[in-house]
Symmetry: C3
Subunit: 357 residues, 3 copies
């Protein structure tokens, strides 16, 4: 998915035969699976319950232009794709509920560059990005999860009922700065706009700031994230810490997050612990995660995931994933496709194929 | 449209000059026509009444990866396109009316890979496809029609009021198996899921199975199709037989279908007979087809089509099509753009250009 | 944006190594800016108030096939893109309000080839285009504006409250003829269809004709435009004249337009005067424009724009634009993002990056 292709392009090949090279990349993932999930209320067999079991399905266009002196301009347009029906997924124009799709468009939902739409200017001084993208604080949580929040194996910290509101995973109207790396140290800061009128009662709604900073070597990552988003229903704050350790036979990851909301909504805490063991064409994964709300009923959901992947080639992988969610208190979280009663568990399996281009 | 291009792609051309080859194909059809159709109630001049007169307009991306030992992984993403306004067309997420677009989105309908969205694994043992595609049973009807149900010339068996419901032409949540060919024998089987909850009253709605098997040589095709789809309003069953014969100067095709519905809805029978005569850059076509419902009023519509195409090149064709529908009983079928009274006829002509890339 | 790339494509590269060349072009613009606009009622900071500050953001596919004897077939599919949220923009299927998107789809608006969707046949005798595109009469107004109606700098003749209705800028269901150029003389004529039923009360709604003709050399353009569109609410007529003069240090442009509406709606007049001074990698722009309605309150809005662009490369440009709208009478036009009281002014600045691929 992250592989880079560069088309050899010939300017006006037919007319004058002149030569020039550019770099436009058409890329994507088609990830399809069959899943069976069950809870105490209902069970279901589905194709692609979540748009992908290993990496999220997508299609995108990106490119880079060398501006000289170490500077470059890049663009990146990436759309979600539901490979069981061919539809896309909605974006959010103002990081508020009013910027979401007016209604569930079902089979009518067209392709939207909802995953990422950015133009960047980069140089030795870092990179400035404008548009829509994952927030820095979210990335600090996502990379703790071997499944990066995709498929049946996704960490419960995000699959659960997050208290953080619409701008948590991705934000639109984003100005994003990425510092150059200095001896393993890195930093990212973003500010996003809700774009409300100055004389509106909700003038700050949907705006916020997001940060990630840390230390990274090929074997160790230690980082922290912070995001504050403003909403009339109560500002939300997300704090997280992350650690990744790459040992000779296993890659370990762990993340912890504190989510707080001003106002009557409950706060929450979550954690994810993951292990990945590569073995030739095989890869084995285990993830344990939990998301717990502080408040009436003390809902708490814990998820155990065991998975294995087999690489048929560099671009095609078969995978099998098994997961179980155990609910505590009034929580009734269930795997996609099933429903369960408060306090009951939900379990399921998923078999799929992931193809990158 | 079916032509295969492979982009010569160079990995990281700028940075290290390393070389790798891939095969991503950008393909499509833009087919525009001007039509005049008339019935006893109204007539109309239109651009592109049906999104294409010769092949349906579309844009798509597909690719294939060689996995060695005769195995390969492929993906195919193909979207409908209305070339008169630039909009797409909706898919259906669950093969039921609840999975269609919530409302007609008019000019807002975005591009959706509604025609096909699949990932496949293929080898000497056949091919398994997951996603959304034409059903095998539908293909057994479509290939009997020289116009493959596109444009003014489309067979009445599909243009009429089909009794078969949403999963007839294409189905989402599909697991599709294509057998290897053995001495001209072929077989295809698919199962599609409605993805309803196990405790819902309509738990089987939108699920079904579809088959096609037969014998094919370069000159002769004989095949049969069968599909059963489950709906709370009454399960539908489609059976069809098909014959194609390629003689030195003419290609003849004939299909017959039996459509039955459990419950109060009427059953139906349909047939298509087609002849295609290629003559250098020219092609002449004649199609006669009928769709008849058994029940009150005995509605029956018969359609005669005469058409000719002229190939300007391998990728561009001009075409002219004339059609007439004769209605019997209470039927009031009319060519796209016109309306007619029960028992009256409808006729029209279409002049267009079809361009493939 | 207008640069032509031709992919070197190899047919079936893996299987037989055969060679063929085609020309499919993937092109686009990602243009992002940060703007601050203010009026007497409200002000706002925004990312991408109008989908682009220099050229409108877009993504498209186009291609051309040589048919021999000077003839060629071409297709062009081009979609609007909002680079701050990744959504697209709606088309209009019938050039009437009923053909617009049923509702504002917000973050759910998918990609639509709303800017252009055409297939053409061209030769020494000119070019015939079918589909959706800018109308000839609109082009005669747009080219008078150095900003071509994009961003904060766009001429007030279009950014104001146009009286001309849905088919003014672009029309669907279009048959478009472009004459060959003879000694600098050129002509374009289009007819577009509303596609209403012959027995409907609004049978002519959304149909119309549009023309542009003139004289063009590398240094001088003189042309006139005319469009008449039919609506039950009152037919609209647009007339315009245009002059462009390219002097050694400055390119001057001027346009004047008369908009009339049959019925109770007011008529309007507008004009644009622009100057562009290129200086190495820099470009300086000044535009003055006005749109005035004849009727109660005599609303009149005049806009002054000063801008400068700096080309980082052939494909990437930084820009800064400042604009002010002065309202007369009951007019309350304001720059995107702000609102102002009738008779008050609105002003703002925009800093952005424009990247073409």
């Amino acid at each position: 998915m992250q592989k880079k292709f560069a088309f050899l392009v010939l300017a006006s090949i037919a007319s004058q035969g002149a030569y020039c090279q550019s770099s436009v990349t058409l890329f994507g993932v088609v990830d399809s699976s069959v899943s069976y999930t069950t809870g105490s209320l209902s069970h279901k067999v589905m194709l692609n319950p979540t748009g992908g079991g290993l990496f999220a399905s997508r299609i995108g266009f990106r490119g880079e232009e060398d501006l000289g002196s170490g500077a470059r301009a890049t663009f990146w347009l990436e759309a979600s794709l539901q490979p069981d029906s061919g539809i896309g997924a909605a974006s959010n124009t103002n990081n508020q509920s009013s910027g979401a799709a007016t209604t569930a468009l079902n089979g009518g939902q067209g392709l939207v560059f909802n995953r990422r739409a950015t133009v960047s200017l980069a140089g030795p001084w870092g990179e400035v990005r404008l548009g829509r993208a994952n927030t820095p604080a979210y990335l600090n949580i996502g990379v703790a999860d071997p499944y990066f929040h995709t498929g049946l194996g996704a960490s419960q910290t995000l699959q659960g009922t997050s208290v953080l509101g619409p701008a948590y995973v991705r934000a639109s109207n984003l100005v994003y700065y990425i510092s150059p790396r200095v001896g393993g140290l890195f930093g990212e800061a973003a500010y996003f706009l809700g774009e409300n009128a100055s004389n509106a009662t909700n003038r700050s709604d949907g705006s916020g700031s997001s940060f990630r900073f840390g230390y990274e070597t090929p074997d160790v990552t230690l980082s922290a994230g912070y995001q504050r988003a403003r909403f009339v229903t109560g500002d939300t704050v997300n704090r997280s810490v992350l650690g990744i350790l790459k040992l000779p036979v296993v890659k370990l990851s762990a993340g912890y997050q504190w989510d707080t909301v001003r106002g009557p909504a409950p706060d929450a805490r979550g954690w994810t612990v993951g292990a990945v063991v590569p073995l030739n064409a095989w890869e084995f994964r285990a993830v344990l995660s939990q998301y717990q709300l502080t408040g009436p009923g003390n809902p708490r959901s814990r998820k155990l995931v065991l998975g294995s992947n087999y690489a048929l080639s560099k671009r095609t992988t078969l995978y099998a994933t098994a997961a179980q969610i155990n609910n505590g208190g009034t929580a009734s979280q269930a795997l996609a496709g099933s429903t369960t009663r408060p306090g009951d568990s939900s379990s399921g399996v998923e078999l799929g194929i992931n193809h990158r281009f």
